[in-house]
Each structure stands twice: as C-alpha cells, then as structure tokens.
C-alpha cells in the first residue's frame, strides 16, 4: 500500500528538544571516546610491562619515528628561530632592548616552541602515518589475523610505537631547540646586526637548565599522547578508504588539541614546581 506523507511544522519546543538532543548525543559520544581511549591506554601500559617488546620491532619503530623525522624537525626548528627573530626584533628595537633579543627567542624556543613544534611535527608526520597504517591493517583484517595467530595486537603493534615515541621525542625536541637557537642567532646577529656578545650573554642568563628540562619533560607526555591517540584511531578505524582517511585526519586533530591542553596543564604544573624548588615567581626576560 502506498504511504501518504504530510509535512508538519515543528513547534519551538520540538526544535529545542532536537537541539538539546543533538548536544547531549555529541557530549555522550565524546565521553565514550575519552573512556575508550583511557581503556586503550591502560591496556597499552599493561602490555608494556607484561611482556618485553621484540627488539627488531622496536628498532624499526625507533628508526621510522625518530631518525626519519629528524630532517623535517631540524628544518622547521631553524625557520621558527628565524621567524621569531624577524617578528620580535622591531618591538625590542623600539624600546631600546635589542640586545636582549636572544633571551626572548631562546627562552620561547626552549620552554614552549621547541617541544610543541617537535610534537606537532611528530603528530603530523608520524601520528597520521601510524593511524593510516593501523587503519589499513584493521580494514584488511590484518589485525584480526594477527590476533587469531596468538599475539596480542596491542602488545605487537601499539607498544613498540608507544615506546619509540617516548624515547625519540626528547631527542627530537632537543634538535628542534638547537636548530631554532642557531636559526634565531644567525638571523639576529648576521642579518639584523644584533651584537653577538650581548645576544649570547642575555640568552645564557635567561635560559636555565630547568627550562630545558621542562621542555623535555613536557615532550615525553606529548609523545605518549600522540602514539596512543594515533594507534587508537587506527585500531578503531571505520571500513573502507574513507575510514582510513578519517582516522588519519582525526589522529592529527585530536593529537594537536591534546598537545595544547597538555602544554597548558604541564606549563602550570612545572611553574609551580619551579616556585617550590627554586623559590620566587616566574622569571622575566627583561
């Protein structure tokens, strides 16, 4: 029998109910996502200690995640240092504090930009690749095949990538810092004519060992978050090529947001620690 359809105008209450329903569903989806990601992270930490990782798998992950990321991290680090010099030089010159340019550039690099930049590059280059690789394995049933032969897929696929990210990201951060410092110094001294003696002297006074430690400490959390989010997205990838693409994009977006959230939380935490251990408030550059 043919159906007859009629279009009824929605009342304001109906529309409000629909909007609230959508907001509720969206919120619920995010809570479920956070819960599943937390469970996935706990399973990864369990398997990290339950059974040793196969050396060959770990070495391969270290190479792909760390060594192959070096060129791009070095390049972006150098340019960020130079851009910082370009952007901050006119402001410092205007107030006659040109000589203190190095302190501002290097402190920003070591405390914030180096770790965040290295983590962002890692999320873009490595995180997306991990999500796409594991997503493809999911949709072609390779993860099921692996599990059906005995190995736990989290132990076999996630733990080596997680460990490699944790191990390699402090090194990549140091490299981003170093290249940024060199790039900033090159541009400031050679092209903008800042006195090199003052540049390095003020830099040395402004940047403490604790700042370098703080940057590296944060980077470990960034690396862990990138690995877990990317692997989770790959493991929970929707079917088909579109699913793999979405998993890859989502892994970068969620990782990037998480890097910024962690940066804020850890920044506050590390400043508090600094106050407790070394006394005094946050240091000023000028």
């Amino acid at each position: 029998m043919a159906h007859e359809w009629t279009a009824e105008k929605l009342s304001l209450t109906d529309r409000l109910t629909a909007v609230v329903g959508r907001i509720g569903k969206s919120l619920n989806d995010r809570i479920v996502y956070a819960g599943q990601l937390a469970a996935f992270s706990l399973a990864t930490i369990y398997w990290l200690f339950a059974r040793p990782v196969k050396a060959s798998t770990l070495v391969s992950a270290l190479y792909r995640i760390g060594v192959q990321s070096l060129p791009v991290i070095m390049l972006t680090g150098t340019f960020i240092g130079m851009v910082l010099a370009v952007q901050t030089h006119p402001q410092f010159k205007a107030v006659g504090l040109e000589s203190r340019l190095g302190a501002a550039i290097n402190l920003s690099l070591v405390k914030e930009l180096g770790p965040v930049l290295a983590a962002t590059m890692l999320a873009g280059r490595v995180g997306s690749a991990i999500a796409a690789e594991l997503g493809t394995m999911r949709v072609t049933e390779q993860i099921d095949a692996l599990a059906s032969m005995g190995p736990n897929p989290i132990h076999y696929l996630v733990v080596p990538r997680f460990v490699a990210c944790l191990i390699m990201i402090p090194g990549l951060t140091i490299m981003a810092d170093a290249m940024g410092v060199l790039g900033g110094a090159f541009f400031s001294i050679k092209l903008l004519g800042v006195d090199w003696g003052y540049y390095w002297e003020y830099s040395r006074n402004a940047v403490a060992q604790y700042d370098v430690f703080a940057g590296m400490f944060k980077s470990i959390f960034f690396g862990g978050a990138i690995a877990l989010i990317s692997c989770y997205q790959g493991f929970h990838c929707d079917a088909g090529a579109e699913g793999v693409g979405k998993a890859s994009t989502r892994s970068f977006v969620v990782s990037f947001v998480m890097i910024l959230v962690l940066d804020l939380i850890l920044g506050i935490f590390l400043d508090k620690i600094h106050v407790v251990w070394f006394g005094g408030g946050p240091r000023a550059v000028v």
Binding site: A2, H3, M137, E141, Q142, S148, M149, P151
Partner: protein
C-alpha cells in the same frame, strides 16, 4: 549441558556396549580408567552478538565434532563471519559461551587465549596477509609464535613444504603479498593457517571473488586439509557448490532482522547431501537462488 544430556549413553571407542559418562571400568591392559566423553572441538551455547542495539546473532547453539567439516551458509548480513570471529573471541559475544575442546574461552586470560588461538587456523576472506612481510615471513609467523627459537633452516624447509602443499613453488617465499594475485594470496593464507598445525580451521568465504577453476582449487585444498591433516573445519560460504563439495554438514543461518517472534536463527542443520530435500522455503530459496519472495518484498517496500 542439561542433566539429561549428561546421562546420555556414550559409545565407547573399543566398541563395547554403550556406557555412561563417568563410569569407571577396567581396560584390556588391566588399568582402571574413567570414561569421559570427548567434548566437541567447538561448541557455542546460547550465543548472542549485538551491534548498535541490534542482534546480529541470537541464541545460537552449535556443536562441531572432531573430523567434521561444517559449512555455514546464509544470505549476506546474517552473521556468518561474526560467528567465526566470535568463535575465536576476535569479537566478544554479548551473551552465551564459546567452548574450544571443552575450554570456555570467556574465562581465559589474554595469555591463555593466545595459546588456544595458536591451535585454530583462520583463513580470511581477503587472505589478510601482512603487507610489511614477505610471503615466507607471513608463513613463518605462526610457527615462530609457537617456538621463537625455531632454526632458520627448519623454518625455510617448512615454508617450502607448505607452499608445495598449496600448489606453489618455494621461490614465491621471497615475494611480497602485493605482488600476488587474489587466488595466490588465498593459497598463501591457507599455508599460513596450516603452519601451526591447527586442530580447527575456520574459513571465511574462501572461494568468494575467485574464478570457477581457482574456486575448485580452494575446495580441493579444504578437502585435502580435512582428509590428510584430519583437521576439523568450519566454512562460511555463499557458494552452495563449494558447501556441498567440502562439507559433510551444513548449517544455515537466517538474518535476525527477518525472523518472526520465537523463530530460531538456525533454519537448517543437517547432512550436506540432504539440504536439497529440506521442506523449509527459506532453505530451498537460498539453495536454489530464488529471489521471488524478496522481489515481492522490495516491491511492497516501495509502496507500489
């Protein structure tokens, strides 16, 4: 298992009169033994799997005994592949139990489950070979899971032997999965599943997407695995010709969404050569490939 089933007489291997489960007796060599019935290789009880608040499988009860090859047939979306994956806990059942040789898989921890899985071979629909490994490494993988210290020479010999078994030459071992055709990949999938000498083989649509000749090659391989290796098998397939050829028993699933209240999801469970005699119209339509009733439903759904 019900009490009545527990007390059911069991035929003893020596051909003695039926005896009771748990009966103590003296064997020919004078030793005192207690009779235990061998559990089915795979048994599922009241199995249910739900996705997005919708049952794909519900109240499935099935036993697969040693030496049997059971074909599971049914239209797309009736839960055949989900059944295979649930049988190895690749998918967690929403309800019910899965027993492998009498061991409840739901009660095993990760390590124990890994051990049990090494005794089950799984041939996936698209072979699911690891792209990052060569064919040889793919086949070695399950062997190394059982014994990571297997000498390299022994591994290579075993790979060559398995490749011969599936009608391929050992030089294929150096190639990558992407270099092989669909039929070759499926045969490598067979070799990999056989590598750990499993007790149970699960085949997920092994002939789908293959030409008739390659389909028959795959059918012959399944028969060879059953007869030469004495491996119990469960084959999920749409291909009636293949099901009748390789299986001695056929089980037909019907989609949950099309069942009426109180109807069971298994609409046929019997010998492969008797399915043509079934009186159930759902079975005959599937076996004969008749779309009549379905076309009528489509017409009604359009409101014509």
């Amino acid at each position: 298992m019900t009490d009545a089933e527990d007390r059911k007489p069991t035929e003893f291997e020596t051909g003695e009169e039926p005896v009771w489960e748990g009966q103590v007796y003296t064997s020919a060599d004078g030793t005192r033994r207690i009779l235990r019935r061998r559990p089915p290789v795979l048994e599922v009880r009241e199995l249910g799997v739900e996705f997005d608040d919708r049952y794909v499988l519900h109240d499935i009860n099935l036993k697969v005994h040693k030496g049997e090859t059971v074909a599971i047939i049914g239209e797309s979306g009736c839960g055949k592949t989900v059944f295979l994956k649930t049988a190895t806990r690749l998918i967690e059942p929403t309800e019910g139990t899965v027993l492998f040789n009498g061991i409840d898989l739901g009660e095993l921890n990760g390590r124990q489950l890994s051990e049990v899985r090494t005794r089950i071979g799984f041939v996936f629909q698209q072979a699911a070979l690891f792209d990052s490994m060569s064919i040889g490494e793919n086949i070695m993988f399950p062997i190394l899971q059982l014994n990571p210290r297997t000498p390299r020479g022994e591994l290579n010999d075993r790979v060559a032997e398995l490749l011969y078994e599936v009608g391929m030459t050992p030089d294929v071992a150096a190639r990558m999965p992407v270099e092989l055709s669909g039929g070759m990949r499926k045969r490598v999938g067979f070799a990999r599943a056989l590598a750990a000498e499993p007790e149970l083989m699960l085949y997920d649509e092994p002939t789908t997407g293959l030409d008739p000749i390659m389909s028959d090659v795959i059918n012959e391989l399944m028969i060879r695995v059953r007869d030469n290796h004495k491996v119990t098998g469960i084959v999920v397939t749409h291909d009636m010709k293949s099901a009748k050829k390789v299986a001695n028993r056929i089980v037909m699933f019907y989609p949950q969404s099309r069942l009426n209240e109180g109807q069971g999801q298994i609409v046929y469970d019997g010998p492969a050569d008797e399915i043509d005699d079934s009186k159930d119209s759902r079975v005959t339509q599937f076996v004969e490939g008749l779309a009549g009733e379905r076309l009528m439903e489509m017409t009604l759904a359009r409101g014509a």
